[in-house]
Symmetry: C2
Subunit: 341 residues, 2 copies
């Protein structure tokens, strides 16, 4: 009889093994006590999780089938900082400096002169198309990616003393994971130039290039001696991916209305309205920069969006009170002896 | 001892259960004797499988990491027929007829007059922007999808007596599965208007709307009394997604050079060149319509592409000799008694 008992014990162990095997299958959703540990408990976290539960609930009237679960995220100020300057602008200034040698006339010609002198306050919105055309025009697409990656591998944020591509807000990266687990496809929808973001989106955010929508610089296809090449013309394809340009480009690119949108400034208003104010479920989330200690504290450029959030009941995320962490723990730099490089 | 033997037997059975459990895990790739049974064995199939094996082989110099495995497919003539008329054109003609009541002047005004009289041969390439503007302009995006789906749910092919959306070539659908299993992301890149394809791509091809690139009709965002709305302006966003417009729009949309492209006509040449003639591995495949029995037999509009295929060693697929099947088996129509509806 002891043999029989042992046989039963073995079966029990094997069954346990089978079931634990099933549970480790990534297709089977695990029960998670807190899907967003990098977010403090509070109204914002509750509203986001509440919305996701609601649209995923098979018995809810608000059920959205997985095919239609689209979430869009602004980039600068929503996924990483936008101060002291938009990082994509810094890259344009960097290209201007790098190319200035071939263009001695830039020393006396604006807007180049102002950029080379570091007088960015002298620049107006109208100057940027000219700067983009001068710095991006004629470059092959491959060369552009190479230069963007090179800059991103070196350029550091002046205050945080960290590479830009390592400044993604970790609670937002966790939000991506959480939404993906709930069947969402995630897109960036940024006013920045699309290929600059594509140069690092996979590495910094785990988002493939085709899931990035941005302001588009046109290209021209040509068969050269070296084979087929795409040249950047430097000309912006209208509309700029800002304000009402965002819903238009979301339609061009995705073809579906998103049901979740995250933004942080007045430039995101139309995207948030398009997502949350139409028919059917939609969640608009506004990231509010109110954390002077860990990041920045400002309302400028977000006044109208904050008003509309109040009016329409959009979710407002306080970086101070809702983010348990802002940036990843800094890695210890490998120390290189100066004479040893 | 018999008890012990029984215990061992039970363990063996349980182990077998565990291993068969693992094998049915979809993440574990199964050994498949023929990954493309709907393709006859031959040069085309060999070249395609050979290329996929090569770029997936960890020890190959041609290894392409999964992040860069992009495959693009033309639509009309590559994934479904394009005769007797491009199906997207038929839809534009259908809209023209449907809207003619509100536009009595169309009876005497070309190009509308020719369309309403069914005299499609009278139309030139220049007429289409006017037809698109008249039939798409002012319509909301939601209404456009509704009309496209309604038409697609009814319209039948005159020769095959089957709904258009059921005329996807089954060997091509199998190709999608095969490439997906090998880590590819799949995009349609069609000269047709993008939202027409998006109206059925998920149902007919299993391709989500964001993976469709096509000729884009612009939209305009507006806040109306009923909430935020996208109106179709009816104006085409240049370039047309044809010829050199294809690589340009692939860059705008995906941001990566594809490594596999399937096309069937001269309009696909630049996409095939961009994919296969640059640096690094690339496979260009041309579907050749040479099957008068099961589909159509024609070279018109493909002459130059066939020449280039020969010259550059592109893979040519003979629908007659390489497709083991063209369309899915027809479902038996449910017979409804005429007096019983």
């Amino acid at each position: 009889m002891r043999e029989k008992q042992r046989a039963i014990a073995i079966v029990v162990v094997m069954l346990a093994a089978i079931f634990s095997g099933c549970a480790s299958n990534p297709d089977v959703q695990e029960v998670q006590p807190d899907p967003l540990p990098l977010w403090y408990d509070g109204k914002a976290k509750e509203e986001i999780i509440g919305f996701v539960n609601e649209i995923s609930d098979f018995f809810s009237d608000s059920l959205v089938p997985p095919e239609k679960r689209i979430a869009v995220f602004d980039n600068d100020g929503t996924l990483w900082p936008e101060k002291p300057l938009y990082f994509p602008l810094e890259f344009i200034f960097h290209l201007t400096e790098e190319m200035a040698e071939e263009h001695p006339e830039w020393k006396t010609e604006d807007p180049f002169k102002s950029v080379l002198e570091g007088d960015y306050t002298a620049l107006t919105a109208e100057d940027f198309p000219a700067l983009i055309e001068a710095t991006h025009g004629g470059m092959t697409q491959t060369e552009f990616y190479r230069r963007a990656r090179k800059w991103l591998s070196k350029a550091e944020h002046p205050r945080f003393e960290e590479k830009y591509k390592k400044l993604a807000y970790t609670p937002m990266l966790q939000m991506f994971d959480y939404l993906r687990k709930n069947g969402f496809r995630i897109f960036i929808c940024s006013g920045g130039t699309v290929e600059f973001i594509r140069a690092y989106s996979e590495v910094a955010y785990g988002i493939p290039p085709e899931n990035v929508i941005g302001t588009t610089i046109d290209t021209r296809f040509e068969i050269t001696e070296k084979g087929p090449v795409l040249y950047r013309t430097g000309v912006i394809v209208p509309p700029l991916n800002d304000r009402e340009g965002k819903p238009v480009n979301i339609q061009r690119h995705i073809g579906l209305r998103p049901i979740i949108a995250f933004g942080n400034s007045d430039g995101d208003i139309e995207m948030l309205q398009y997502t949350a104010e139409g028919r059917g479920p939609g969640l608009a989330v506004l990231i509010h920069h109110d954390d002077v200690e860990r990041e920045y504290d400002y309302d400028k450029g977000t006044e109208k969006a904050l008003e509309l959030a109040e009016e329409n009941g959009w979710t407002v995320v306080s970086m101070k009170d809702d983010f348990a962490e802002v940036f990843p723990e800094k890695e210890e730099e490998e120390k290189v002896e100066p004479g040893n490089q």
